[in-house]
Symmetry: C2
Subunit: 588 residues, 2 copies
Amino acid sequence: MYRTNTCGELRISDKGKTVTLAGWVQRVRKLGGMTFVDLRDRYGITQLAFDEAKNKELSDQAQKLGREYVIQVTGLVEERASKNSKIPTGDVEIIASELNILNTSDVPPFTIEDETDGGDDLRMKYRYLDLRRNAVRRNLELRNQLTFLVRDFLVKRNFIETETPCLINSTPEGARDFVVPSRMNPGEFYALPQSPQLFKQLLMVAGFDRYFQIVKCFRDEDLRADRQPEFTQIDCEMSFVKQPDVIGLFEELIKYVFSTIKSIDFNEPFLQMTWHDAMRLYGSDKPDMRFGMTFVEITDIVKNRDFNVFNTAAYVGGICAEGCASYSRKDLDALTDFVKRPQVGAAGLVYVKYNADGTFKSSVDKFYNQDDLKAWAEKFNAKPGDLMLILSGSDVQKTQIQLGQLRLEMGDRLGLRDNTKYAPLWVVDFPMFEWDEESSRFKAMHHPFTSPKAEDLQYLESEPGRVRADAYDFVLNGVEVGGGSVRIHDRNLQSRVFKAIGLTEEEANSKFGWLLTAFKYGAPPHAGLAFGLDRMVSLLAGLDSIRDCIAFPKNNAGRDVMISAPSVIDQSQLDELCISLNVPEKDK
Amino acid sequence: MYRTNTCGELRISDKGKTVTLAGWVQRVRKLGGMTFVDLRDRYGITQLAFDEAKNKELSDQAQKLGREYVIQVTGLVEERASKNSKIPTGDVEIIASELNILNTSDVPPFTIEDETDGGDDLRMKYRYLDLRRNAVRRNLELRNQLTFLVRDFLVKRNFIETETPCLINSTPEGARDFVVPSRMNPGEFYALPQSPQLFKQLLMVAGFDRYFQIVKCFRDEDLRADRQPEFTQIDCEMSFVKQPDVIGLFEELIKYVFSTIKSIDFNEPFLQMTWHDAMRLYGSDKPDMRFGMTFVEITDIVKNRDFNVFNTAAYVGGICAEGCASYSRKDLDALTDFVKRPQVGAAGLVYVKYNADGTFKSSVDKFYNQDDLKAWAEKFNAKPGDLMLILSGSDVQKTQIQLGQLRLEMGDRLGLRDNTKYAPLWVVDFPMFEWDEESSRFKAMHHPFTSPKAEDLQYLESEPGRVRADAYDFVLNGVEVGGGSVRIHDRNLQSRVFKAIGLTEEEANSKFGWLLTAFKYGAPPHAGLAFGLDRMVSLLAGLDSIRDCIAFPKNNAGRDVMISAPSVIDQSQLDELCISLNVPEKDK
C-alpha cells in the first residue's frame, strides 16, 4: 500500500501521528519560507507543509511540483496555525519529511475544479480528467449508491437479480436495433436488447416470481440531449400481482431512495392521474407537478362571436399565469413566437390580461367585450393581475400538447421548476393503442404485451382506440422515469392484440412464436415495470442532462470522442463475418 | 395480489387460518373420496385437499387439473393426518373451498422434477420450463446471492460500481471481437468489450481509487463446454496498491463468500505458488490442489542405461499413484491410450509397480534392474503397493503439461477430485511474455498493460522470455476463477512493453494512443483483478459446466435455440447500415 490514510481522513485527533498519503497535487503555494501543497484524492484534500528552514532540499522539490503530479508524502500530522473550516481536514496539516513523485503530469487541458474552464468537447475528450472533478465524480458516486440501495431493497423482498442475454434476436416492433453479425452463423445477426421485456416475461413463466435486473439496453435512435445509444434500466417483473401491487411496491422503493439519499420523506401516497386527465389538464402524459397552472377549457363559452378561429376550433383552452398581467408587448410577442415555433406548432396565441384595476385587455378585444372576458376569467379562477394565455385548434390532443409546452415555458419563466423540489406522479390507464399515420394502423402505445383493461376488452376488435391498458408510468418533475404494465398471460388474448395491431397469425408466429409457445405451458398472471437509471440519477443529482451521470457517455452522433469509437475495422474482420461495406460516396 | 401466502410458507402454527395460494400443479392424486394436489411455486410445495363428500363439484374440478396448470386456491390450513417430514410445509394441508384456474397448460415436453427425463436440447429449447426445476433455479438464486454478497463487501470498502461502455472500439490484441455496425457513422463499427480493462484503468487515472463492476463481456471464440460468447466478470481495480494488497483484499472476499454461502471457513492464508513451481510440480498454471501427486523429476538418474527414450529426453518425470500397484494390464493400457490421445500427445507411458512384496515390475525392466527402480522409488517416496507413472520428452514444458493431464486423470480415477471440497490457490509470478509460434513474436501472456517485475525490467529488451510479471491468478480446484495484475502506469514503460511485443510506435499510437495520452496526466500506480462470475457460481454449485448457472445460455454454435438467435435481418436494416452480405454458397 502506498499510503496509510486517505486525503479526506485526518482530523485534529490524529495530531502527532506519522502518516503516508498519496494523491494528486491540487495546488502549490509559497508563503515566505513555507511551501504548502494541497494534496487531493477521491476522499478529500489535505494540506502538506514543507519548511525551507528545516529541509531545504525537500522544500525545493515541493516547489517544483506541477498541477496533477501524483505524489506520495510521509510526515507528521500537526495542528494548523490558520485553520480552514471549509474542509473536514482543515484543522490539520502534514509536516512533510519524505516526498516521492509517483508520476508527473503535463499541464491538464482544463482546470480540475468544480467550476472548470473546459468546454463540453474538451471535457469529453479528456473524460478521465473531467471525472477527477468533484462535481462529476459525485454523480457517479450517487449512481453507485442508488443502485446499491435498489438492490438491497429488492433482494430483501425476494427479488432475484437474473441476467438476461445481450445477444438476442432483432424484433421489428419498437425502435431500431443495433445488430451484431454472427461469424459462426454467416448471414445471420444477433441484436442487442432494447429491453429484456420478453425474457423477463419468460422468467415469470419459469416461476421466478420476482425478478429484477439493473441492465444495459440499446437503441439505435437519432440522439437527443437526454438519450444515449446505450442506457441502463432498473428492470422488474412480478407474478401473481395486479396493478396496485406493483405500484405500491415501487412507490415504496422510490420513497426509500428519496428518504435515504435526499432525506426527503414523502408521507402521502403519490398522486395517481389517468392518462386522459393528464392530457386534459396538462397536455402531457408526463406532467410536471411541481406547479399548478392546469388547463381551463373554454370551448363552449367562446363561440357565437365573430372570431372565426374560436368558432371553428374543436378545443379552446388556456392557462392562468398568476401575476403576469404586467407582461409587456415584448414578453407577449416572445410567447407568441414560442408557440409558433415548429417544435410547438400552434397557429397563434390569445392573451387576456386581468388588469389590477379589474379591467381586461386582450388580443381579441375586437371580438369579445369585457363581460365575455370576465366570464372567461371566472372559468380560469383568475384574479386581477393575472394573465390568461389561450390556444385553440381543430385537433383536441394536438392543441393540448401545444398548451402543455406553453405551460412548461411559463413554469420556467416564473421559476416554478425548482430542481431541489420533487413532485412524483403515477399516470395510469394509458390508451392501449395509438393510431400510426405512417403505417395507417394502430400500434401498441406501450408494447403489444401489455394487458388491455378487462372492462375494455369488448372494444378490442370494434373500437381499438377506445381500449385502455393496465399500463402505468412513474413521472417525476415532468420526466418519465419509469413505466410498466400488467402483461398479457393468455395466449388467445395475446393473439387478439397482435391482430389488432395488424400482425397476421403467420407474422406473429414468426416473430414471437416462442413467446406464444411459452404461454401454452402455464403462464402466471404477471406485471412489471422498468425505471430509467440514468434519468433517475440525473433527477436526484439535480441535473438537466443524463450525460454527467454516465462515466463515459457518447455524443449526439453516437461517438465516444475519447477513444474515437466507432471506427473502421480490418478487412479480415469483415471477411470473417461475410459482410462487405456499401457506403455511399457522400458518407465516406 | 392473487395470494396471501407462498407455497413454502405455511406451518402448523398457521392452523385455522384461511389462506389463498397461487402456483403450479405439481401432481394430482386421488385417494378414496379425497383428491390431493401438490401446489408448487418458487418457495415450496403445499398440499391441497379436496373432499368429495364435502364439495363434489370442487373435487371433480380438482381431479381434472393437469400438470403445470396455474391455479389459485382458497381454504383452511389444517394439520395433516399423514405428515411429510421431507418438506417444510409437510405438517399442514389446505382444505380447499375455492378453486380458480388462472391458466391451463399443455403437457410439458419433459417432467418438471429434480431428475428430469428431458435431454439437453429439449431443456434448452424450453428453458423457461427447465428453469422451473429446483435444481436449475437454485443455481440462479445462488448467483443472485453471490453477486449481492460481492457488492455488499466491496461497497462497504469504498469501491464504486461504475458502468463502462458496451459500445467501444475493436482492439486487435487478444481474442476476436463482436462488432456492431454504426448506422450514424457508415462504414464504421463499434465492438463489444472483451473486458473493461482499459476503461477501468482510465477510472484509476480519473482518481476513482476503487472501482468494481459486475459486467457482461463478449468474445467471439469457438465455444467449448465452459465458454459462452457472453459471460460475466466481477471486475475490480484499485489505486495506490501493490500486489499483496490486491491479493489480500480479494482473498478476504473469497473467504467471506465461502463462509456465508457454504459455511466453509478457510482459516489459513491461501497458498501462493509461482507459475514456475506450478508447472514444475503440477504441469499446469491452474493446478488442482484437492490432491497431491506432485511431479518427481528423475531426468538425472535415468541416463546411462540402454533406454534411448530416456537418454535423449530433456525431461523425465512422473507421479506416484498410491495403492495402484494392483492395476491390471488393461488399466495400464487405458492410461497409455489416454496419454497418447492427440489432446494429450505423449509418445508413451512408462510404469513401475512397487509390488507389495517389495519387488518392482515395470515396462522398462529390459533396461533397468531392481536397484535402479528402487532408487527411483526412493525419489518418488513410493511405498510397496504404489504405482509410478512416468513420462519423458524433449520439450520440458510440453512434457510437464502432458504429465499434468495424466495427474488429473488419475485424480478422477481415484476419486480425489471431490466437488464438495475446495482448494484455493494463488498462482503468482507469471512470465510477462510467451512466444507465439504463429506470428513469430513474443506476445503478452496476460495483456500488454501488465507490469513486469521491477527486478526483471533489465531483461525487457535483451531477454523478454526471462521477464516475469506482477500478475496473479486465483485458482480453485484446477479452474482459473480469477486473474489480475499490477498495471503499468508509466508511459515510457508502456511504450517499452509495446515494443517488446512488436508494436511499432505508430501502431501503438493508433491503437492505444488515448491510453498513452491519459498516462501523461498523472496516472497513479494501480492494480486489479477480475473473477469469472459464471465459473465461480458453477464451482459453488458443484457443477461441471457453466451452462446451468446462466438463465438463457447459448449452445456450442453460439445459438440461443429457444428464441432461435441469431437470425436473418431485413434487407432494409442492412441497407440502413450500408453493409451487404457475402455468404459463400456452402454456408447458405
